[in-house]
């Protein structure tokens, strides 16, 4: 058991981070190469200014009309994405592990604050599930994969939450927590989670077409 835990907390972390970063890099290089080969016109229309203008406009909370028309979903989704990065990266117990391994550290969130934010992430995921059931147009688009993806994100946060409180089977919960966190990282480049790479690219292209050619706003 100890050697198994040592593996998932040691080499497996490396493996999953390498697959995550390497996969996204590989994907990006692949996209840029394929664009050059098959759709080079895209580069003729992309401009840095209009790409950043569009991405920037969509980063400002409730600035796009689309966001203002669905404020609840947009607001929850916006916070959810921030917390998705913020909580794991600034969690005291994660920083301790990194400090042990690399002797580097950074300020951590207060534990009870982090606990509350984790609950927030879980609540947001539950909201997404309910929304998929309840809103007809979202339900119409939903496939099993959409729930699987939600589950993949839910697992590390839920088990992290349970592990922190140590209510039941602490050790097992922690093992699942570590494994599911690694699973999420590994899955990102191979699933629609890769929108973390694709979305800025598609937004930048549409922003460029609107800014440069159409001379209109796209938000």
């Amino acid at each position: 058991m100890n050697s198994f835990i040592a593996f998932i907390m040691g080499p497996m972390v490396w493996i999953s981070v390498i697959i995550f970063l390497g996969g996204l890099t590989f994907k990006l290089v692949g996209i840029l190469g394929a664009v050059r080969q098959k759709e080079p016109y895209i580069y003729s229309y992309m401009t840095l200014k209009h790409s950043l203008r569009s991405i920037g406009a969509w980063m400002i909370p409730f600035f796009p009309r689309s966001a203002r028309m669905s404020p609840i979903y947009y607001g929850i989704s916006y916070l959810f994405h921030i917390l998705l990065f913020l909580v794991p990266l600034f969690l005291a117990s994660h920083i301790v592990l990194i400090n042990e391994a690399f002797q580097i550290s950074w300020p951590a969130l207060n534990d009870s604050v982090a606990d509350g934010l984790t609950a927030g992430v879980i609540a947001a995921l539950i909201f997404f599930v309910v929304r998929r059931f309840r809103v007809p147009e979202v339900n119409y688009l939903t496939s099993a994969m959409d729930y699987i993806l939600i589950l993949v994100v839910l697992l590390p946060f839920l088990t992290g939450f349970l592990a922190y409180h140590q209510w039941v089977a602490y050790q097992w919960i922690t093992v699942i927590h570590i494994l599911s966190g690694e699973l999420m990282l590994i899955i990102i480049p191979f699933s629609r989670f890769s929108h973390m790479l694709n979305a800025p690219l598609t937004r930048a292209y549409m922003g460029s077409e609107f800014g440069q050619v159409r001379q209109a706003k796209d938000w």
Binding site: Y41, L201, A204, M206, A216
Partner: protein, 452 residues
């Protein structure tokens, strides 16, 4: 909203769906192998990382729904939301590797040709900027290659192919129409000319084929403005005069490219400095955005000026003066292809305010305006589909009614015809005009008339 026969409550399912002879006979000719081969060919050879990213990136969030007039007009029926149209066409084709049934294709033709104006509003509501209109055009491309394009719009493409204009206007009829307008206008303005093939003119004026076919008065009006403003202009006498391009909307990219190329070559032959075009949206898109790309120009080889921008120029430079402003309460429809497509909405408002006394805006407006429901080739699928088009345009009717305006300015041919249908169907009691109609009515026409 109270209307004739209560059309607001009709849903498409209660409207009789006509069977289109071109679609039906096309489907009859198809074999499963052929269907699969064409779909695979198009998806493999004509798409790339852009399409792949669009398919891979959609998180099924449903935010695009709010953008679509079809969805809003059909009581938020999910099958009309943009992403659902992709789901029911392209996703399925991809999933089944092109092995789809004829019933599926019959539905795909309708979705792509009749339930989407390719207005691109949804890519402004998708946080990722996914271009769903592009994917609907891809479906139309597949339908074109399968030869199941709706009959009426296919006929306009046939006309383009044979005559290089959309309406089977014969070469001599074109010249004859221009000379007839010139002759009529000379009764009012003695030295007015519609100069044909004048080499090196500052401006080539270009129109869509429906103008000589049945709206020749618009050419008369344009000539009057050119005359009053003292413009050095010309119109081509040869094929290539028509800037419309229905092939762009059926996915017949080869013919679409030919039309745009002939158009630019006509301007090049005349060695004009710029091209000015009448109030048409899709034609502008065809030569400003699409046709140039097919012919490998990043941007058009000529400066292409839409009527809205040209009017703005004439009025702000004082080449045309308004004698007396138009009195009635007007509102302005922003055509997708020149507002969302070229950002001309602010100039349009400035012109309207220079010409009219009482202007009220629609909500939403500018880039966010609802499509007229006719554009993107939808109205060109013809009378058999008018009933369902009216149902699908309900939200536009509500938007128009809310303005309380007496006159609706529609600076685009497709919008003009589509809005005409909406106004009649929903009994809105609005008069529809081109912006040029109002300028013609209010401008000082005497500037260059003899003896003045």
């Amino acid at each position: 909203m109270k209307t004739k026969e209560n059309p607001m409550t009709d849903t498409p399912s209660s409207v009789e769906k006509p069977t289109d002879p071109a679609i039906e006979s096309g489907l009859e000719r198809l074999t499963p192998d052929r269907i699969q081969q064409v779909i695979q060919d198009v998806l493999k050879k004509e798409t790339g990382p852009r399409f792949k990213a669009y398919v891979e990136t959609c998180m099924h969030c449903g935010l695009c729904a709010e953008a679509c007039p079809y969805f809003l007009s059909n009581d938020r029926d999910p099958q009309f939301m943009p992403a659902a149209k992709v789901k029911n066409t392209i996703w399925e084709m991809l999933k089944k590797n092109g092995n789809v049934s004829k019933d599926f294709l019959r539905r795909a033709v309708r979705i792509s040709h009749l339930e989407c104006n390719v207005c691109k509003r949804c890519s402004m509501y998708c946080p990722f900027g996914i271009d769903i209109a592009y994917m609907m055009l891809l479906v139309r491309r597949i339908c074109h290659k399968l030869e199941i394009t709706p009959q009426y719009i296919q006929d306009t493409v046939n006309s383009h192919s044979v005559t290089l204009n959309q309406m089977w206007v014969k070469d001599d009829e074109w010249i004859d129409t221009l000379q007839w307008q010139e002759e009529d206008a000379r009764d009012e303005f003695e030295d007015l000319e519609i100069p044909l093939d004048k080499m090196g003119a500052d401006i080539m004026y270009s129109v869509i084929a429906p103008e000589p076919k049945f709206q020749a008065g618009l050419i008369y009006q344009a000539a009057t403005m050119m005359h009053a403003a003292g413009i050095n202009w010309t119109m081509p006498s040869t094929p290539g005069w028509d800037n419309s391009n229905m092939a762009m909307y059926t996915g017949d990219n080869e013919i679409s490219g030919r039309i745009a190329r002939a158009f630019f070559e006509t301007a090049a032959k005349l060695r004009v400095k710029r091209i000015v075009m009448g109030e048409c949206g899709h034609a502008f898109r065809s030569v400003y955005d699409m046709g140039n790309r097919w012919n490998s120009w990043v941007m058009p080889p000529f400066e292409v000026v839409h009527a809205l921008a040209f009017y703005h120029e004439l009025l702000t430079e004082g080449r045309i003066t308004i004698k007396e402003k138009y009195k009635k309460k007007v509102t302005l429809h922003d055509p997708c292809n020149v507002s969302r497509g070229r950002g001309l909405h602010d100039k349009a408002r400035e012109v309207v305010n220079m010409v009219c006394e009482d202007f009220v805006d629609m909500v939403p407006n500018r880039e966010h305006n609802y499509c007229c429901g006719a554009g993107g080739g939808v109205i060109n699928c013809g009378p058999p589909y008018k009933g369902e088009r009216m149902v699908n345009n309900r939200v536009k009717a509500e938007q128009l009614a809310a303005t309380g305006a007496e006159v609706l300015i529609a600076p685009c041919h497709n919008c003009h015809s589509g809005l005409e249908d909406i106004v009649h169907h929903y009994d809105l009691k609005m008069e529809i005009k081109f912006l040029g109609d109002l300028i013609y009515e209010t401008m000082d026409k005497k500037i260059y008339t003899p003896g003045a």
